[in-house]
Amino acid sequence: MSAKAACATSSHWEVMLVHEQELETREGLDRLEMSEILSLNASDLDVEELESRLEMATAVPNADCWTNVCVIHF
């Protein structure tokens, strides 16, 4: 392979690489745009089930819940 051909091939691959990087970046942006909302906790949370969750919490007293501020947690 001549030096000229090698250079052209190299340039071609560089162009391809840049193109792929652009595609990846664009896909990344698309993913970002698609990610309009990302749940950071309790991914299965459903407001419709709030009542039953509270009923359960009331049925099983949690000692930590009645010592919020004025009593130390041990």
């Binding site: 906790n41 309790a42 407001v47 009542e51 009645w66």
Partner: protein, 529 residues
Amino acid sequence: MAVKLLPVIPAEIVVPRVGRTEPVPTESIERRLRASSYTIYVDLPNNSHEMLLVHGYTGAFDRVSGTVATYLRSLELRRPIRPLYGQWTPEPEIAPGTVAEPSAATIGVLKRRGYLTEMTPQEEEDRLAGIATTLHRQASLRPNYIFMPTYDCNLRCFYCFQDHMRTDPAFKHLLRTMSVGLIDRIFEGIPKLEGLHGLAPGDVNRRSIGFFGGEPLLRQNRPAVEYIMRKAEAIGEANFWAVSNATDLDAYSDLLGPGKIARVQITLDGTPEEHDKRRIYADGSGSYQRIARNITMALELGASVDIRLNIDRNNIDTLPALAQEMIAQGWPKYPNWSAYTAPIHATNEKTERKTTYTSWGLDKALEERRELHPEMRVIDRPDDGLKDQARSIFVNEGLPSHKGQFCGANSSMYIFDAFGDLYACWERTGDQKIRIGNVEPDGEVNLSQFVVNAWRTRNVASNAICRQCRYALHCGGGCAVLAEGRRGTLSANFCDGYAARFRAMVAEAYLDHESGVAMNVREGRVCDL
């Protein structure tokens, strides 16, 4: 013997639970999708493209694009009501033409997590109040106890809310020590108090027993304190803790440590020089060296020591030097040691309001100084606990610990003084007119339903402002005593810049989480007042 005036667990008298209200004909209500009245918008510093959403009663924490946040804000029916004290941080205006509807999938998530609702504002307020009432009932299930062996104290701190008891001869009669006979009577009364909470003998196998004063751990109080501990251990297991000035802590060395008095809150007011100007004996001499020796002793014995630093504008600039002093003492190397700051409140005429900070103001002032003095990171800011809670949610992906009331004074805390009087809050003791009850000489326990109700029915649901507040289940309505000081009534809310503090700490916690900053592990504190 009998206990008068039942019951003390607050009834669900404030609002009925959602789903149990009188049915409203649905055809009479025009349903339309709107932003929940309890959506909290948290700006992320240096990120104009995204923000966090927090839902005030579902417990959801989400990161959303600016587009989604703008869409949601465009569906707000009204601006949040002004708090009685302070101002909300202003929300940015929505620029015309910037509202775009997100995908159907995103709208579905927003509905499922509570940010979008078809409930009317009143229905949603009722839902919040129902949740708050449930949480308050849960918090009221099990009593906890604080003993005040005496109102006497060996120090004369100028800002003390009990200063008059030691300096005004009219209150001299208060300075007695709890007798053995009274301790016996109190322990006869404890099962009866627990009965009022629906607890049968044997239902309570572990009790929280605190010591507060005056100075509870004075050298001369030792027999009373030890007797209280033995009595408590005779009826079950107990966790003991104390709020002490630690000047006489050496007299309690064999009662300190795991399984004994396991935790002590001790106050320092600055560097040794500054502390010795403020926390002084009656003869004007300083107390720092004795306290410092006793802190090291308690840490060596395995007791947890929380150093409380009462801060105002006059001593805040001594904190860098105090941090260096703490490091020199070697305290930060103990895992059972922590130091935190609390703003001094103008609770007597010797304290000028202009020298004090709000919690938010102190937090900001400390943050500025931390930038210049990194050693100050051994001292927690008032809101570091709030930040830790948010961080814990991001790490564990769990739900926040909501509360229907601010503290134990509004649920199930009983404070016994040396006269057999019962109080709800240690900031309001020593005056029989405000006691919630008393233990009679014959062992009978009386409770004043009127005063009990004033304290124990104060919750998020019983306050019209809190019911409409997005932050209410995180804040709990604020301290009743501080609310009374500002508004003249225990039932008022005390906001203390909570909205701004909450948003700032959630944003900080999220940024730390994203960048992998190590998380601090702190245990709960005695009282943030």
